[in-house]
């Protein structure tokens, strides 16, 4: 993609909060809504003499994520100390992985505008989060609830070329970690944060330009906007004949721009060294085999399968696989209904609309996939019409009742007996003798629809529309 003759080179670092019950190195809780400094232990606030102990679940989640991203899993990875001073960093160093991260050399593939893109993953390493400083004018309060929360930092190669790609990459990672159930993906609560490295160069130039880092962007829409802004800003700078300063910038969502946070001159010397309090993380082949066997089918593979095996359009497959639970719901529905496209349609239109307006996740749908599947089967075997189905669906949504029960209780079975329909048609025609005349004489046009409507109304919508059409046509000849 070219911008005024320039090309953007983008790399993304995503901090994924691993959804373990306790912190990376101590048993403190990780619940989001805890009171200030409630989720702390002597270890997580760095009290003298305390020592970290690695959370095994965090290692499992990291390996699973690495496997899903096609990474090599290091059999021996090492925790290092990243030394710097900040009030919300309790120990004066952050435990992170440095030159020996647990996952390396992977890739992730996604589709954007129908085209497949593969982005390399340079590494994914485990680290602990810092606390949070709340500045109030001339004083600052610190909350250590986040201090020690386990993070996996996923780092791409400089492979992304457009803001849209960057955002789609982010969404793909979001989808994958949600599929793996290693991260709740709650961006508002900071469960995922993106750092974007952006540089520009003349199209065809062999060298990368000077890169600028935009830190802590917390939505994929902002990732796209921040990078868009940054590309334009950098091109302006270069066009003016100035040099890009290597710096860290922040995104201001209100002003729609990035602004400088610190330049390279203030860059820290982190003085990394292997943390002597922790042993290397040893990963065995057996662990890898076990975690591999536990991996779910990933979204892009699942979408491809839905397209191939269920003949779903790309759009449907993508929507239905956006979340694992939604894809599971669809598959169960389709298994019962035996009608893939109809299942997809009902879920994407009626069900998702209701869920969205009720602000409910798919897992809390009052209509179970099996019930929706049976309702679709009722349409397909002619028991109810598509139109009645909408009424049935509403009733199921409100009461959670089985479709058969709703149909029976409300007397919604479709009338498919030609004799019964003929009777209704005759009644309708008799009651509208004048209109029949008008129709037959051709005095007024387009009256056929009026009769269909009247018959359907008279049958409380239960008449099989095809038969109504057929019989009306005969009678009105």
């Amino acid at each position: 993609m070219s911008y005024r003759g320039y090309e953007a080179v983008i790399g993304i670092e995503i901090h994924v909060q691993l959804s373990t019950a306790s912190k990376m190195f101590c048993p403190a809780q990780t619940t989001f809504n805890a009171g200030d400094n409630e989720n702390t232990t002597p270890v997580s606030v760095g009290m003298p003499g305390t020592l970290p102990v690695v959370n095994k679940k965090a290692i499992e989640y990291s390996i699973k994520t690495g496997l899903a991203l096609g990474c090599d899993i290091r059999r021996k990875s090492v925790f290092a100390r990243k030394n710097y001073f900040y009030p919300d960093l309790p120990k004066g160093y952050q435990i992170s992985q440095y030159d020996q991260p647990i996952c390396e050399n992977g890739s992730v593939t996604f589709k954007l505008d129908g085209e497949e893109k593969t982005i390399s993953i340079a590494r994914a390493h485990m680290e602990e989060d810092a606390g949070k400083s709340n500045h109030h004018g001339d004083y600052t309060l610190i909350n250590y609830n986040r201090a020690g929360i386990p993070l996996l930092e996923i780092v791409t190669g400089p492979d992304l070329r457009s803001p849209a790609e960057a955002a789609e990459y982010g969404r793909t990672i979001h989808q994958i970690v949600r599929y793996l159930d290693v991260c709740d993906g709650n961006l508002e609560e900071g469960s995922m944060r993106c750092d974007c490295n952006v540089s520009v160069r003349k199209v065809g130039a062999p060298q990368f330009g000077t890169k600028v880092e935009i830190k802590n962007v917390n939505s994929f829409r902002f990732v796209e906007k921040a990078i868009e802004y940054e590309i334009e800003r950098q091109i302006d700078v270069v066009e003016r004949g100035d040099k890009i300063i290597q710096e860290t910038r922040l995104w201001d969502p209100d002003k729609n721009r990035t602004f400088s946070m610190r330049t390279k001159e203030d860059a820290q010397d982190y003085r990394y060294f292997a943390d002597p309090d922790l042993l290397p993380v040893i990963v065995t082949d057996a662990m890898i085999a076990k975690f591999k066997s536990e991996l779910p089918e990933l979204p892009i593979a699942r979408a491809n399968r839905f397209q191939a095996e269920h003949s779903l359009p790309e759009h449907d497959a993508k929507v239905l696989t956006s979340e694992k639970q939604l894809a599971d719901y669809y598959e169960e529905t389709a298994k019962v209904s035996k009608n893939y496209k109809s299942s997809a349609n009902w879920i994407m239109t009626e069900l998702l609309r209701e869920l969205n307006s009720a602000n409910k996740p798919i897992t809390e749908s009052p209509i179970k996939p099996e019930q929706l599947g049976r309702m679709i089967a009722l349409i397909d075997n002619g028991t109810i019409s598509g139109k009645i189905a909408k009424t049935v669906f509403q009733e199921m949504w409100e009461s959670g009742k089985d479709p058969e029960v709703v149909v029976k209780e409300k007397g919604l079975v479709q009338i498919s007996d030609p004799a019964a329909i003929e009777k209704i048609v005759e009644e309708v025609l008799a009651a509208n003798a004048q209109t029949v005349e008008d129709h037959k004489s051709g005095k007024k046009k387009n009256l056929f629809g009026f009769f269909v409507g009247a018959v359907m109304k008279s049958s409380k919508g239960q008449a099989n529309p095809e038969l109504v059409n057929k019989i009306l046509q005969e009678k009105l000849k």
Binding site: P42, V45, G46, M47, P48, G49, T50, L51, P52, V53, V54, R81, N83, F85, Y86, P87, P90, K91, G92, Y93, D138, I142, D269, R271, Y272, F273, D275, P276, D277, L278, L279
Partner: protein, 490 residues
């Protein structure tokens, strides 16, 4: 029974069979602390609850409960170890008023074994020093000669134990901080194999070197104490899963056929003649007892002091970063300033909170780890460290225990070396390599200098071979000329 000179098991047995109550024992030693410690300055805090803690042991015994192998035995704990509810400063102003809400694992295990903690013992600030002169609480005096240093950094532990203000103490050893003061004060000090004893709750100086151990009056007391404090701890990932042997029960002075290694490099240096004589005599004694003396070589031990200071200072610069005045401990006074920059906040707080030696090592360590110097210093030190370990492992193929001096000379005078850090660092020439290699090492008192100062012998064994080391020490102890002698303050 003379409580003052009773062994740990003698006191525990007497308390258990109720010939003396734990409370009486605590009272006896508390009185000794009150009357004698004015001269020594070995205690920094007194446990206000020691008598009620002792009474609780008595109550449990009265109920017929098993209170552990150290029932009612009074201990002093080096300030490096956190003690729940008792001030723990690591000898530093920066932790002036720190009262931990938790016990170090070592302390918890001692308590579980029935120990009554009488108080906290003085030390060099953050265990950085070899003379106990860097403590925020002032210097400790050597009970054998009040003009001399007790050694460091566990000087308070060594002095309190030598003067029998307690029945047992715990010290920590990063580069010799248990063995050197033990030698200077005529007591037994053991640094176990790295990983034997949990570091949880021990204020970190250099994490890859620190290890706590007993500083007591006899080899048997050392073996028993070591048994109580050793073993895997789920709060310290670097502790070993290996079982803790019953060292005190297996202790034997029969060392026939054991091979005692003598490092030829150690003898080349300029030893004080009294130390030289003591070492020679110890070798002669062991030979007579049937041990075989073999010459071994660990040539890189000459590199041990610089390597030690690079590793220790680097880790310390990181470990001590947490003392920043934000969460606990000392904070500089900013009352008259309307606004302060963060750097100023840290600079003033840490500048006022840390002493000169600590600052020196933090600066050294920060420099060693900084980009551009890391490879030349920290990384290189790590490589030499591995080679030292390998050379030791080679040496232990030829012998069971290595015998060497602990220090070049007996205890020196207070103030003699404090202005010469390099001279002070060279104190550690015989002890640091043991920590770098993670080996167990100990000092057992064996001789007296012409001035009447005790001189210890250092024994080092291969990883997890504490038993052999203790056996040789037990044998030497039986022939020690310090045996039965006590410092004049007592």
């Amino acid at each position: 029974m003379d409580l003052t000179f009773a062994s740990i098991s003698e006191i525990a047995d007497a308390v258990k069979n109720k010939s003396v109550s734990a409370k009486e024992v605590a009272q006896h030693f508390q009185t000794r602390i009150e009357t004698l410690d004015r001269k020594l300055n070995s205690f920094t805090s007194i446990n206000p609850n020691s008598l009620s803690d002792a009474a609780e042991i008595d109550a449990r015994i009265a109920k017929g409960e098993d209170v552990g192998p150290m029932a009612g035995v009074p201990f002093g704990i080096k300030e490096m170890l956190c003690t729940k509810g008792i001030r723990t400063t690591a000898g530093s102003k920066i932790l002036e008023n720190f009262i931990p809400p938790y016990d170090a694992t070592v302390v918890a295990r001692l308590k579980k074994a029935g120990v009554v903690v009488l108080g906290k013992l003085n030390q060099d600030e953050f265990a950085m020093g070899s003379s106990n002169e860097t403590s925020f609480h002032g210097s400790v005096k050597n009970p054998w000669n009040l003009e001399c240093v007790p050694g460091g950094s566990s000087g308070g532990s060594a002095a309190a134990q030598a003067a029998r203000l307690v029945a047992g103490t715990i010290g920590t050893d990063t580069g010799g901080s248990i063995r050197q003061p033990a030698s200077f004060c005529g007591i037994v000090g053991v640094k176990p194999t790295y990983g034997r004893v949990s570091r949880y709750g021990i204020i970190a100086y250099a994490s890859s070197l620190d290890q706590a151990g007993p500083m007591v009056s006899s080899v048997k007391d050392a073996a028993l104490t070591l048994e109580v404090i050793s073993g895997f701890d789920e709060n310290d990932s670097t502790t070993t899963q290996k079982q803790v042997p019953a060292w005190s029960k297996s202790l034997k002075s029969d060392i026939k056929g054991l091979k005692i290694g003598i490092k030829k490099e150690n003898m080349a240096g300029s030893l004080h003649p009294d130390v030289q004589k003591t070492v020679e005599k110890s070798i002669e004694t062991l030979k007579q007892m049937g041990a075989e003396i073999v010459e071994v070589s660990v040539p890189l031990t000459e590199m041990a002091v610089p390597v030690y200071y690079l590793v220790a200072a680097s880790e310390a610069s990181s470990n001590l970063a947490r003392y920043d005045g934000v969460k606990y401990g000392y904070r500089a006074d900013f009352k008259n300033l309307s606004a302060i920059e963060l750097d100023e906040f840290y600079g003033k707080t840490r500048g006022e909170g840390f002493g000169a030696e600590v600052k020196r090592r933090i600066m050294l360590g920060t420099y060693c780890l900084s980009s551009g110097y890391y490879d030349a210093y920290y990384n290189k030190a790590g490589q030499v460290r591995r080679l030292i370990t390998n050379q030791y492992l080679e040496a232990f193929k030829k012998c069971d225990v290595i015998l060497s001096p602990v220090t070049t000379a007996p205890a020196f005078k207070l103030g003699e070396r404090i202005d010469d850090p390099l001279e002070m660092y060279l104190n550690d020439i015989f002890t640091t390599s043991t920590n770098l290699a993670g080996l167990p090492g100990m000092s057992v008192p064996f001789g007296l200098s012409q001035d009447g100062l005790p001189i210890g012998i250092q024994l080092t064994a291969c990883h997890f071979e504490e038993q052999k080391m203790l056996d040789v020490a037990f044998a030497l102890e039986s022939a020690s000329s310090v045996k039965g002698k006590h410092p004049h303050v007592v």
